[in-house]
């Protein structure tokens, strides 16, 4: 297909989203139909593009020199674009129901839809500059979503989110400058864009710059110590927390780091350097730290947010192994975690939407009143723990295999961190499940008489996600093969 359609896929949600508050809707349902159609059509477009991949590059504008805004579709982009375009329509459907209780729907959906386009922009970016532009835009368009409720808490959270993100981008910017100056091509190339001679000349400088940009993008991927915005941003409406802070935004950070590591600096250069060890240490610490904080946290969404922090570092762990297998592990966890976490977040959202309860200790006995939601929540919890047969196990398996294969002694400790984190995951997820299923003996069910399962608009996405979790867990082979091809550059 013509590469122009790549740009179209980015443009449709942006324009469509901006139009939304401008159109005078007579009925709410009209707006919902419009939005869902928009998103679905765009997702179909994306999938058509993925299946008939355009080979050439579409250049939108030239900035100075070799800087251009350009789009293309390669293996890595395919994975990310495929992921988000699959999740978005479902998440939109879910948010229709969720947002009935919130105000300013029009603006909300505007930004929600625009974010779709921007995230696609990140995944379809052909060069660092384009990615950087969309990365910054992502911060800005998601900001109103975070502060949607406009409570003091939300404003503080959004401010923090903004400062962290922009600060991170500023450091990523440094990396971009280096790549533009020393890189032999502005486009992403698997294996790196800088020649070995250049790299050897200023080895430590380049490593330092790499570390800077890693941390810069790492802000969105919530690596320690730059993670505190994520739990706070949980004040946003759940569709936002679920889709953006479990998938789109944070995965964009991870995605950018993948681009940075594999497609810009090149793993051959980075492997075995102090930068790798430093980052691996940080990532391992984050894995454990996120989980530990999740165990301590009693607010449902914040607990899930901490869990996200930990799981994102799983992905980064795969990246810092700096082997193709590591990339496979990272990508598979990126996909699978997206399903697991969006699923658990949507369950949390369903609970909050239906019952206005936010804390875990309020969930006693809920499983009897919301059997479907909790069944699905249990599935996602088990998957997050990495129970075999569900998708979480597969991605962890891939990560660990890569760690073993890398023959890196520190990676072995990383395995230990993963396992410790799995245990902590079991603790923080299953305490919720057990509380809901097995309240104390003399629990009075009348106190939660108002609790019931949500309607189909919420349940449908949930069911789809749960099914996907199981399906991926049982037949992950096509996915893994695809990812292996991507990591090898043959896709």
């Amino acid at each position: 297909m013509n590469a122009f359609y790549l740009f179209l896929a980015v443009l449709i949600p942006c324009v469509g989203g901006v139009l939304n508050p401008l159109i005078p809707w007579k009925k709410r349902s009209h707006m919902l139909i419009y939005l869902e159609t928009l998103v679905v059509v765009n997702s179909i477009l994306v999938w058509v593009l993925l299946l008939n991949r355009p080979e050439e590059i579409f250049t939108l504008v030239h900035f100075t020199g070799n800087l251009a805004i350009a789009f293309q579709l390669d293996g890595l982009g395919t994975v990310f674009a495929g992921l988000i375009s699959f999740l978005w329509p479902l998440a939109t459907l879910y948010s229709f129901e969720y947002m009935t209780k919130e105000k300013h729907e029009k603006t909300f959906f505007m930004f929600y839809t625009v974010t779709y386009g921007v995230t696609l922009g990140i995944s379809l970016a052909d060069n660092f500059l384009t990615m950087y532009c969309f990365y910054e835009l992502l911060t800005l368009v998601t900001l109103p979503l975070v502060m949607h409720t406009l409570t003091r808490e939300a404003i503080l959270a959004s401010r923090k989110y903004l400062y962290y993100s922009i600060g991170g981008a500023a450091f990523a910017f440094i990396g971009m400058i280096f790549l533009l100056t020393y890189g032999e091509s502005p486009d992403f190339i698997l294996g790196g864009v800088m020649s070995t001679a250049t790299l050897a000349e200023g080895k430590n400088t380049f490593l330092l710059i790499y570390v800077f940009s890693f941390f810069g993008f790492g802000v969105k991927a919530a690596i320690c110590p730059l993670n505190s915005w994520l739990p706070q941003a949980g004040v946003a409406p759940t569709p936002v927390t679920a889709l953006l802070h479990a998938v789109a935004v944070v995965k964009s950070g991870a995605f950018a780091i993948m681009r940075l590591t594999f497609y810009c600096f090149g793993v051959d250069f980075l492997r075995g350097t102090w930068a790798q060890y430093l980052l691996m240490g940080v990532v391992m610490f984050t894995i454990v730290y996120g989980c530990s904080m999740a165990v301590k946290e009693t607010h449902l969404k914040r607990r899930l947010a901490y869990s996200t922090i930990s799981n994102l570092s799983y992905i980064l762990f795969g990246v810092v192994l700096m082997t193709p297998l590591g990339l496979v592990g990272a990508l598979s966890h990126m996909i699978f975690h997206a399903f697991m976490k969006i699923c658990s977040f949507f369950c949390a959202g369903a609970i909050m939407h239906q019952t206005e309860r936010h804390y875990i200790h309020q969930l006693d006995g809920f499983a009897r009143k919301m059997p479907k939601v909790f069944a699905i929540f249990t599935v996602s919890a088990l998957a997050l723990m990495g129970v075999p047969g569900l998708c979480g196990f597969i991605s962890k398996w891939n990560l660990v295999s890569a760690a073993i294969e890398s023959q890196n002694p520190m990676a072995y400790f990383g395995i230990g961190a993963l396992l410790l984190s799995a245990l902590l995951t079991a603790i923080y997820m299953l305490t919720i499940v057990i509380r809901a299923y097995f309240p104390e003996k003399d629990f009075n069910y009348d106190t939660i008489a108002d609790v019931k399962d949500p309607n189909w608009m919420m349940l449908l996405p949930l069911t789809v996600f749960a099914v996907m979790i199981v399906v991926f867990g049982l037949c992950s082979m096509p996915v893994t093969e695809l990812l292996t091809a991507v990591a090898a550059g043959s896709f």
Binding site: V61, H62, F63, T64, G65, L67, L129, Y132, C133, E136, L137, L140, L143, P144, M147, L150, I155, S158, R159, L162, Y163, I166, G167, A169, A170, F171, F173, I174, I177, F178, L180, T181, Y182, T205, L208, F212, G216
Partner: protein, 496 residues
């Protein structure tokens, strides 16, 4: 074509003449005359720009009867013409944006005085841009100072007068240093025309005698101009001067007056001292350090500030730090970045001042943040424009700030020693910028039940239109930066 060569000289005199005529006119007349003159000068500058760009040369225009070594000259290349055009555009926009405020804040009897000052300012700026004579430059620096001071004190509030006094004192210190440096240079070289001084300076530098006096001279001139353009740590006068004057004045002061001095400095660096000699002196390292310090400290002060006008003013300190940091890098690329930042900052800062006043107007004339809550809903245009300005300041892609950040970093990468400090300072400064600007943006977009009335765009057409122009200018700088950097590079190359 021949006619166009007269335009620079003509535009300076037109501006001066209009100032003289304005003293006989009433407020409205003076205003119309001023608008006309600014527009006309803009058009003329555009013609000159067209001429110089197509030929790619610079021209010398003899003033008076004496030929070169003794007489006075005007010299213009594409960079000068472009600057003149840009200054006119910004001045026009700033005046239009603040027109209402001028009518309200200034005693009707004195309105024509205001426009006299503006005319004088324009003429002095043009002269600074075009002149090839160092002493003429000094004279116009002083005229510029007086005009600027007049623009500040026209408000007649205690604070404004105090601010004007402080501004005046600092300016005089600066011009004193500039003057003595100039005299010493004259002493050493025996010339006042830039081109001839440069030849002599080159000889001195080659022979190696008088190196210390030369260095001292350079230092005096640079410090003098740095004080005048509010480089950290000489910025103490700035927040008051920008914060308590009428909005058009603030916009013009920050984006034109200080930029005029900086442009003069660039000119001296290239035309008088010679770029390589300047780079080899230690002074650029000092500028570099002060630039970096300014970037950080300016933003820090801005974060602490509780008043939107003063916050924007402090942000200027930081931005001027950027420009000097670009000088300090000591490369042509760094210089290009600095010149671009002059444009970018001028466009953005005046936009911020003008839109900021729109926000304070709908918040009961209060400049404290707490009063501004939700102001963007009460004045939609100003809110949007302020947001754009803020994003540009923070360096979000698509806006001009991003390009200047990009150019600075690209320049920094070329220097081995200064690379890391620059990059880190840029990153930190971006974060700090984000903190205070985005905090404000979030605040003005936080809805609140307000006691203040809203203003619709329809009632404020001119204002909204001005803002739109500013935004367009900003985006144009951000999106089509290639021709502009090309023009700057080419301009700098014919500069020397």
């Amino acid at each position: 074509m021949e006619l166009i060569r007269n335009f620079p000289c003509l535009s300076i005199f037109m501006a001066m003449l209009s100032a003289i005529i304005s003293s006989a006119l009433k407020g409205n007349g003076a205003r119309r005359l001023n608008t006309f003159v600014v527009t006309a000068v803009g058009v003329m500058s555009a013609c000159v720009l067209y001429l110089t760009c197509t030929t790619g040369e610079s021209y010398v225009y003899k003033m008076g009867h004496f030929p070169a070594p003794i007489g006075n000259e005007i010299r213009f290349g594409s960079l000068e013409a472009g600057m003149a055009l840009f200054f006119c555009v910004i001045m026009l926009f700033s005046l239009n944006g603040g027109r209402k405020k001028i009518q309200i804040e200034i005693d009707p009897g004195k309105e024509n005085l205001y426009y006299i000052m503006v005319d004088l300012l324009l003429s002095s700026l043009l002269a600074l841009v075009y002149t090839n004579d160092l002493f003429t430059a000094y004279v116009f620096v002083e005229i510029n100072t007086i005009a600027a001071c007049g623009l500040i004190m026209i408000m007649e509030s205690g604070r404004a007068i105090e601010a004007a006094t402080r501004y005046m004192i600092m300016s005089l210190l600066g011009s004193g240093l500039f003057l003595i440096g100039l005299c010493m240079l004259y002493d050493m070289t025996g010339h006042l025309l830039m081109s001839y001084i440069q030849i002599s300076v080159r000889e001195i530098a080659e022979s190696g005698t008088y190196m210390i006096p030369l260095l001292v001279t350079i230092a005096l001139i640079v410090v003098g101009l740095a004080i005048k353009s509010a480089l950290f740590p000489f910025h103490a006068w700035l927040p008051d001067a920008y914060g308590y004057s009428t909005v058009s004045s603030a916009a013009m002061l920050s984006s034109l007056v200080s930029k005029g001095y900086i442009f003069l400095l660039i000119k001296i660096i290239y035309r008088v001292i010679g770029f390589d000699i300047f780079v080899n002196s230690k002074i650029i390292n000092v500028l570099f350090v002060f630039g970096l310090a300014g970037m950080i400290m300016g933003s820090m002060s801005a974060i602490r500030e509780n008043d939107i006008r003063r916050m924007i003013s402090y942000s200027s300190v930081a931005q001027i730090g950027y420009i000097y940091m670009g000088f300090g890098l000591g490369t042509t690329v760094g210089m290009v970045a600095s010149v671009f930042h002059i444009l970018s900052h001028a466009a953005t800062k005046s936009l911020l001042f003008v839109s900021g006043v729109g926000l304070t107007d709908v918040s009961g004339e209060k400049t404290q943040f707490i009063e501004l809550t939700g102001a963007a809903y009460r004045n939609v245009a100003a809110g949007l424009a302020f947001t754009v300005g803020s994003l540009s300041m923070v360096g979000i892609p698509l806006f001009s700030g991003f390009i200047s950040k990009l150019l600075f970093s690209q320049a920094a990468v070329q220097s081995n020693i200064k690379m890391l400090p620059t990059l880190i300072a840029l990153a930190v400064s971006t974060v700090l910028n984000a903190i205070y600007f985005m905090k404000t943006v979030i605040r003005i977009y936080t809805p609140i039940e307000s006691k203040y009335p809203s203003v619709s765009i329809k009632k404020n057409r001119l204002y909204a239109f001005t803002l739109l122009c500013f935004v367009m200018l900003n985006v144009a700088l951000g999106m089509c930066s290639q021709p502009i950097t090309d023009w700057i590079t080419q301009g700098l190359s014919v500069f020397a």
